[in-house]
Amino acid sequence: MNKIWVLTKVFLKSSFQFGTENKNTSSRLKKIAAKIGYGILILYLIGIFSFLSYQLIETLRAFGQETLFVGIFLLALLLLISIQTIFSAMNIFYFAKDIEQVLPLPIKPIELLLAKLNVLIISEYLIEFIFGLFPIFIYGYITGAGIIYYIISLVVLLLLPIVPILFITLVVMVIMRFSNLVKYKERFQLFINLAIILLAIGLQFFFTSTGEVSNQEILVTMTNVNGMVENIGNYFLVLKPAIHAIINTNEFIPLLQLIAFTLISFIIFIFIGNKIYFKGVIGSRGTALKKRKMKDKNYQEKDIGLSYVIKEFKLLIRNPIYFIQCILPAFLMPVLLFLPFLGNDNGMDIRNIAGLFNIQSTLGISILLSIISFLYSLNFIAITGISRDGENAKFVKQIPVSLYDQYIYKIIPAVFVNFIPSLILIGLVYYLFPVSIGFIVIIFLFTILFSFIHSIWMLWIDLKRPKLNWNTEYAVVKQNMNMLFEFIFSFICIAIFLLIGYLCMTINEIIFILILTFILTIALLFSNRYIRKKQDILFDKIN
């Protein structure tokens, strides 16, 4: 038992490493600043979610439907936790380098399994703390609940993530055990992971299209929402008992049910995990050497730029962690966000509503650019362009290719991947609004200009604060303070776009388009000139 906790602590430390970028140079002050930064971000998120929950509860209360909140809220929390777990389980249990470090130690497989499980559960608790705790308290406060409510809801919050975590991890373990038998192991693992994610989205799509959020009468909608929650509840074992435990605090059956489900899942998990986890861990490392002679077609000559960009893409795509963390969100997020608009039956309704809004206006254009700015902020390719290479980053200085050229080659994958959200958004606009082709083309050109500007500055952030001494690829994306700056950048851009749009509201949209073209072009030219002139200094931290 003791060993499990020691292991858990070690794993937690290695996965939540603060300020490891440059052990020698980063001062205490910087570390404290980083912690304060995290603190502010967390408080900010807690604040926003508390406020939104408060608004929602109050609105529902006006119709005497406040209990609905519990269902919607727990469902959202459960989805969030499940998605988060899908994204991180494979890494925590199999790819993290800390496993390699503890494997030679005298540890029982079950101890490793439980320690890793602890890490996953604790990181999900962190998410619950940020997104889940306060809304539930606010609900209790508004409905004037007694002390027993708070105790029960705490227990529910503690139990809620466990079953999905166990379930998803079990699936992952089976995949990894099985994939050892496959030749192209890593590709197979990636493929299966993708399939799970697509399935999760598919389910969501299924629910949005049967949920029929119509715009008729708000009460009808509410019962629909209730129905939807119930519907999905059938797929999530623990959702219904959790909801009922919180709504009816004088009944203990739901809570007991929840506990029972958790216990049973845990026993199954231990039973199967004990059998397959360790074998999977050992088998999942390394790929096989296959002997074969080189043929003429294996020797290829390419232009420097092309060869460089292809290398960047290969490294991104072949590394499952980079693929899942950097590329996938770029098209998952727009799909997830826009899916509700494409539901089969209500498409017409939404188009009717959309027709009331003139998108080909100054404000419409600014809003579109703001959405693009938000979507681009989920693309982590440029902001990890240097850090992803880790110890290899100094390679950029070894080869006889100018640092400016390499700067451009490094952002091209980011610019390319940005096409995905751009095209999805533009497609949606074309589908929903009666717009001209000319308008579509102009918006598309804007997104390309902005994509270049965005990527240049994201790589700039990475160069200023590179994270090169990581011990798992996961840390590059997930435990990287720089992401905060990416969000701040996108926030500022959104503010600027909306401000310009607002200021120019009375101006003819043709002139507005000219103004925007001018601003974006100048910004791009300036950025380009800046990196060209400063190329020597910009790469100073890479050595």
Binding site: F395, K397, I399
Partner: protein
């Protein structure tokens, strides 16, 4: 040819990792750079190859200043770093093609050179596999091969023998000799004194950032007590500070 003029570097203020280094390594020469751990070998090599900027002084490669004409200077260099874990997600042949592209090696030349070198290191049938599946030594061999494709005027290697088996180590030494014979410069760092003895035309010994000896191996022997072994010589020189 490598020219190092009054070069100093400190990572932390007040503690010089390399202190006023002066060296000239001529064409056709194999130069061994010796020193205990933390002496400043890697730091020096990083400055020569343009990875690190010196605080003072200048470094010329075939007369080209690495800071002022980095691209031209780097074209003359082939650099084998101390860690061979480069872009492991690529296959061996992909990596070699990529490096050849960076140095603009024509197709026919690269094909011929890769085939020849891979055969010598006995990895010609492993080039199609991902470098993740390579052993440390195999990775080292790929890096060595990649850094010979453009036939660099200045071949610079940081502890190249670590991880190589005796046969491959011998092959590498042969390659170094052949490379120097073609009137190129070979500069490498090592801890292993025997290697320096048999291979180098000249050696330099760096200790705590200071160059405490430069000369031929014979000269080195005459500097210390008669009959002392290699290790003793080395210890004597580095401890008499």
């Amino acid at each position: 040819m490598i020219t190092i003029n009054h070069v100093s570097k400190s990572y932390v203020k007040g503690k010089k990792s390399v202190d006023n280094l002066n060296l000239e390594i001529k064409n056709g020469e194999i130069f061994g750079f010796l020193g205990p751990n933390g002496a400043g070998k890697t730091t020096t090599i990083k400055m020569i190859t343009g990875i690190l900027k010196p605080d003072e002084g200048e470094i010329l490669l075939d007369g080209k200043n690495i800071e002022k004409q980095p691209v031209d200077a780097k074209k003359t260099i082939g650099f084998v770093p101390d860690s061979p874990d480069m872009f492991l997600r690529l296959t061996g042949i992909e990596y070699l093609n990529f490096i050849a592209d960076m140095y603009e090696v024509p197709l026919e030349d690269r094909k011929e050179r890769i085939e020849k070198l891979a055969k010598r290191f006995e990895i010609e049938n492993d080039l199609g596999s991902s470098m993740q599946s390579y052993s440390h030594g195999m990775r080292q061999k790929i890096i060595v091969i990649s850094m010979l494709l453009h036939q660099p005027k200045n071949w610079i290697l940081d502890e190249p023998m670590t991880g190589l088996d005796p046969k491959s180590s011998f092959q590498l030494k042969e390659l170094m000799r052949e490379h120097a014979k073609k009137n190129n410069t070979v500069f490498f760092s090592t801890h292993v004194l025997e290697v320096a003895e048999k291979l180098c035309d000249r050696v330099g010994i760096i200790h705590k950032g200071n160059l405490i000896f430069v000369g031929t191996y014979e000269e080195l022997k005459s500097e210390v007590k008669e009959g002392s072994s290699l290790e003793e010589m080395f210890l004597e020189l580095t401890e008499n500070e």
